[in-house]
Amino acid sequence: MSSIPLTHILFVSTALFFIGMYGLFTRRNMITMLMSVELILNSVNINFVAFNKYLYPDKLDGIFFSLFIITIAAAEAAVAIAIIINLYRSHHSIDVEDATEMKY
């Protein structure tokens, strides 16, 4: 059984990237938007690992990069949750449409 070609994996990761982007643009719930951001970051992880495995299997550069992305994503999520909790305390809502203090 021959292996899966690289383009298939790139297709999946690109699809995930744009699903994340779509979610970020259309959803108005902050938690969903945060999830979309995570989706974007993780689709790039797939990209890195696939490139590493298929094109340059002798060095592990791409995989290490994805390790760093995972940790940075966790840090970003922690900060985002903190911001969202703070907003919830003042607005009693996690809908971004309700955060309109700066519209003028």
Binding site: G20, V44, F65, I72, A80, N86, A99
Partner: protein, 458 residues
């Protein structure tokens, strides 16, 4: 290397001083002394003295340019601490943590000023961004601050995603993150990936420096953040990301045979135009300064555009001049009770020193001769002329600089020629002396710019 490790350690020390030290004055002193130590150690490294011997496997390369930039950024931060440390501690209850986050940001700036691998570029940018999201939202009771930090986070993480996709494509094309590999001819067949990846990285960096088509977050974030941190974000952090952009360009785009100059020219023109035009219509000085920082970013983009000796000197001078002037203006702005233009009416009578120094800073931002802002703008434009292409951009930039005079002079006009009682918080004599010293530095460096530039060459 000295600066990177020491700033991380100092950040941790300040984190713990928030637990064990209760007096806010002591925390301020620790932070200021720490920043002074950081500056000293970095100057020592410029002279060839290394505290730590770390094998970075060529992921970081410490050039004269990067180290000089570090020194300037750290001295600007030190000045920032000296004039507004008290306001930092007044933002909220976690005084020491704010300083700790600023030290972590300094660590990120030291990384991006000398990265040699896209991995370190990504890490540096994130080390700068994540503490900034927190600093933006640090005024927890203020709705505007919360919203600004949410907006900043969404925009910032989105642009991070774009940058990562770009780095992934570059890696797919070149098999490495090292900047030296960028021009190697391996996998020439994958050049499409390479160019697409570089463009994506460029777009995300333009996001971070708030260049024109990607500037929409800037006014809101700068307006919503506590004013002290706006001052820090608009000056030192922005300059740090610019240095990363210049380094990235220097080593990847230049010589890649790709027509990138046109893209940068268009972005520069759009940034100058939008920043200056919208700044005219603002009613609040804080928001005006946010738009003016977009406009100044347009001038700093010349350093990316032309990539020669002039532009390198220019961006160092620009960083220094712009940081000095903007930190000074913000320091005065924090003391004001009313942030609108009317709030400045008659400041010259109530606080003559503040009004005079603010005038000098504004003149420097507008690029009037005898101030450092003039030479900074001159070097930037000269570099573009020297590079020879797209001369229309230079003419356009001069026109925009002329427009900028209008809104800077509006502040001067309301300070000197309008009647009113500008209300300020109580101001200490030390604060007045510091501002006067900064204004003197702006003028002295405006007459002898070589005092700084000589360090680039030996």
């Amino acid at each position: 290397m000295n600066a990177i490790i020491l700033s991380a350690i100092l950040g941790v020390i300040l984190m713990f001083s928030g637990i064990f030290v209760t007096s806010k004055t002591a925390i301020r002193n620790i932070a200021t002394a720490g920043m002074a130590l950081l500056l000293l150690v970095n100057i020592a490294e410029q002279g060839g003295f290394h505290l730590f011997n770390v094998n970075t496997h060529n992921m970081l390369v410490f050039s004269k340019f990067g180290l000089l930039f570090n020194s300037i950024a750290f001295s600007a931060t030190l000045l920032f601490f000296l004039v507004s440390a008290k306001d930092i501690t007044n933002v909220g209850i976690n005084a020491a943590e704010y300083f700790a986050l600023i030290f972590f940001i300094s660590c990120g700036i030291a990384i991006v000023s000398s990265f040699n691998s896209l991995l370190l570029l990504f890490l540096g940018i994130e080390i700068i961004s994540i503490p900034l999201y927190i600093l933006t939202g640090s005024d927890k009771r203020n709705l505007k601050s919360n919203e600004a930090s949410l907006k900043y986070f969404l925009m910032g993480s989105f642009s991070t995603g774009i940058m990562l996709l770009g780095i992934a494509l570059v890696y797919g094309a070149k098999a490495s993150f090292s900047m030296e590999q960028m021009h190697s001819s391996i996998n020439a067949g994958r050049n499409a990936w390479f160019y697409a990846g570089l463009l994506l990285v460029l777009i995300s960096m333009l996001f971070k420096v708030s260049a024109a088509p990607f500037h929409f977050w800037t006014p809101d974030v700068y307006d919503g953040a506590p004013t002290v941190f706006t001052s820090f974000m608009a000056t030192i952090v922005k300059a740090g990301v610019f240095i990363a952009l210049v380094r990235l360009f220097d080593m990847s785009f230049v010589g890649s045979g790709y027509d990138w100059q046109l893209i940068i020219a268009i972005v520069t023109a759009a940034t100058l135009f939008i920043g200056n035009i919208t700044a005219i219509f603002q009613q609040s000085v804080k928001r005006m300064l946010a738009y003016s920082s977009i406009a100044q970013a347009g001038f700093m983009l010349f350093g990316v555009f032309s990539q020669n000796d002039f532009s390198r000197e220019g961006i160092i001078l620009y960083t220094l001049g712009y940081s000095l002037a903007t930190i000074g203006i913000f320091a005065v702005l924090i003391k004001m009770k009313d942030y609108t233009f009317e709030g400045f009416n008659g400041l010259a009578r109530t606080e003559p020193v503040l009004a005079a120094t603010t005038t000098i800073f504004l003149l420097s931002l507008a690029g009037i001769p005898l101030t450092i802002g003039f030479f900074a703008k001159y070097f930037m434009l000269a570099s573009a002329v020297k590079s020879g292409s797209h001369l229309w951009l230079v003419i356009f930039a001069i026109l925009c600089a002329a427009i900028s005079v209008y809104y800077y002079f509006r502040v001067i006009q309301s300070m000197y020629f309008k009647t009113g009682l500008a209300e300020t918080e109580p101001v200490t004599p030390v604060f007045r002396w510091l501002l006067a010293g900064m204004a003197a530095a702006v003028i002295i460096l405006g007459i002898f710019p070589n005092l700084v530039l000589q360090y680039l060459y030996f």
